[in-house]
Symmetry: C2
Subunit: 426 residues, 2 copies
């Protein structure tokens, strides 16, 4: 066995061992541990920021771009934000122990489901060091052990953060082994991890499409995939134009770098001449490049708006996740055409309709098969905290395990409990 495989086995076994005890850890101890972690992150700020400074210097020396560098960076403000996030988890209800549908059967058996942790969750992620804290805290509150494997750019930051997390948690009464961090940055390690089907109950990849695909194709255990959003906003013929402009502007411009930002704007032909120049004016101010089909291009050009960045759309602009100040635009002749477009191109993350027509709204809700379907609201809301679930581990675009924001309850499972008095089956 290689050294890498050995480190993994040892850490995997330790996590599995902790996972036998974690389901029985009281909410009180878990919350105390979360508060201790939040305190420790602030108390040991100097140590954490020093490690992060080293990471950032190394990244700069390696010629990393300014935008990526910004994602690696920790500072006192950001660290305080991370600590706040951990503290707020303590206020959320504990999903573990919830009893579901308990009832007495005619033969006297009492049967129901009890919510329990999944067991061991492995996270493989890139870039931002706050992910280490977020995932470890979510796993802790939900009674799961975790194995964390962060990106090599912030290995120093992550190593210190993991130590702080582990020490604070253990001192508060959390079983040793509950938080495992892989220090090796060897790339072969991910492949090894994905073979550990007996030790890991769920693996969550967060990062590039390449990483996600590699995990999906090679994992021997269930995978939770998300974060890839080709998101549509469809402006119906019966849209309120002001609402439509406000919502589409927000969906693209509030933050264009997130997975639930608008990628494609679909506009009904009957409203296109009124709506398209209005949104184009706003998007021009927001610095958004519009990649337009023939009809939308003609309408916008005719409006002679200054400062526009306008291009004919290529076929592959529809179905592309831009993560950039770019939107694809298309005119459609009917709701059906919009639904077909979304069916063909959506990744099932977040899609919206703008309409005042009740029946059209209902059809959109019925027929769009997407994790989060919006009527008259910005797709930027897709987020566990926005939905009142607290922090999230990922936005799932899967249909099984969990869909949309994956928060505390979504990383648990249940077991059936049957209380009898000597019953036998006839």
């Amino acid at each position: 066995m290689t050294t890498i495989a050995q480190e993994l086995q040892t850490k995997g076994q330790a996590a599995r061992q902790a996972a036998r005890q974690l389901p029985r850890l009281s909410t009180e101890v878990k919350n105390r541990a979360l508060l201790s972690i939040a305190e420790a992150l602030l108390a040991r700020q100097e140590e954490i920021l020093a490690a992060n400074a080293e990471d950032c210097e190394a990244a700069k020396a390696a010629g990393i771009s300014a935008s990526v560098l910004d994602r690696l960076l920790l500072n006192p403000d950001r660290l305080a934000g991370v600590a706040d996030g951990v503290r707020s988890l303590a206020d959320l209800p504990d999903p573990v122990g919830e009893m579901i549908d308990m009832r007495t059967l005619p033969n006297g058996l009492i049967v129901g489901r009890r919510r329990v942790p999944l067991g061991v969750i492995a996270a493989i992620y890139e870039s931002r060091p706050n992910v280490t804290v977020d995932i470890a805290s979510l796993c802790l509150k939900s009674g799961n052990a975790c194995i964390l494997r962060g990106g090599k750019e912030v290995i120093r930051s992550n190593t210190v953060l993991a130590r702080v997390l582990r020490e604070a948690a253990t001192a508060a009464g959390v079983p040793e082994g509950a938080i495992q961090f892989i220090e090796s940055t060897d790339r072969a390690l991910v492949g090894e991890m994905l073979k550990m089907g007996g030790l890991i109950d769920l693996v969550v990849p967060r990062g590039s499409a390449q990483l996600i695909n590699f995990v999906a194709e090679n994992a021997r255990m269930p995978v939770l995939i998300g974060g890839t959003g080709v998101c549509h906003t469809y402006v119906d013929r019966a849209a309120d134009i002001d609402k439509g402009v406000r919502v589409a502007y927000n969906a693209k411009c509030r933050r264009y770098s997130i997975c639930n930002a608008l990628d494609t704007l679909l506009v009904h032909a009957d409203i296109a001449e009124a709506f398209l120049p209005a949104i184009a004016r706003q998007w021009a101010e927001g610095g958004i490049e519009m990649r337009c089909d023939r009809r939308s291009l003609a309408i916008i050009e005719a409006a002679q708006i200054g400062g526009l960045s306008l291009k004919p759309a290529q076929a592959d602009d529809f179905g592309k996740e831009f993560l950039a100040p770019i939107a694809a635009v298309r005119v459609v002749d009917s709701l059906d055409e919009a639904l077909d477009h979304i069916y063909e191109h959506s990744t099932g993350h977040s899609d919206a309709i703008i309409t005042e027509d009740y029946s059209v709204a209902m059809r959109f809700l019925d027929e769009v098969d997407t994790a989060v379907v919006y009527v008259n609201a910005s797709t930027q809301f897709t987020d566990g905290a926005q939905f009142g679930l607290g922090a999230e581990i990922i936005d799932s675009t899967q249909k099984t395990i969990a869909r949309g924001p994956v928060a505390l309850r979504e990383i648990t499972t249940y077991k059936w409990i049957v209380l009898g008095n000597g019953q036998t089956r006839p």
Copy 2:
């Protein structure tokens, strides 16, 4: 593309197309279709039984064992039972459309989850022809399209059954394409199916361990695995001996060929001398062979019971799923030793404790991480119908997707619905 791959693609596309419409099919139409199917199974009994007779003759000619032959056989009684099962599905509540946790957020957004079908479910199964009807009906009621791939021994029966199902469903208003049956018995086909990640949302293998492992290792889509049960019954020092004997007898002898039959009996040392001879007497009458550890063997031999089939256990008898009139037996010195044994050997299907000690029962419920955990009841109850869920598609031993009996609700998912009035995210 091979002919096989073409047949699969065509059927997969047809199923996917139907799956776009099925979520909106009313409960009324679905129930009417189920009742039509039940009627058609009886009305076309002659045709079905004739095909089954051909299958059975061919199987006999191929020298298949009597017990396997019995699994292939349909007769008027069995067919009536299958039809009854379909009819009873019409009485169960429709899981589709259920609204979960709908609420209004401070910003006025109305947010919640709506239960929807998964989409396309593929089932790969062996032997019994009733599975074709069971799975197709469960999928229909839950709004899922299905692709069925049965065993070659009953290909004639299954082909006729699938035709009957499809014709009755379509006549009742179910979209064409909702029920797909693969007529080719080429083995390469399963491998091809498992590559259809874009067309199939979930694959359910039912059959030999070899089939299940092949599917688990090769599927590009989520897999629902179950049906492998190494099941324990632990008789605690504080057990009521009569209850224990009754329950352990039932757990082994009612039907030893099912996955939730008892495989290993663990007995606390303090009660072993009283309990073991009592169960041995019963099991001797039931024709059960006991494979005993050293201590249990000594106790049972000393009791000099007639008609016993008694053997020393080999190490691998613990952790073996017998599916036969055989039980492994071991004496343990404590609850902890029993819990460790179960932790090590259970497949997480069904495990039971017999005890009158409240705190011991609570510890067992807390610490055994199994799909169905029993106190003072027979593990033979693990079954969707027994738990009041109606028919089941499989008993899952996974932690994700669903655990224990997989009935109608367990083969659905949800989507988030957000109803706004122009809200944008700050």
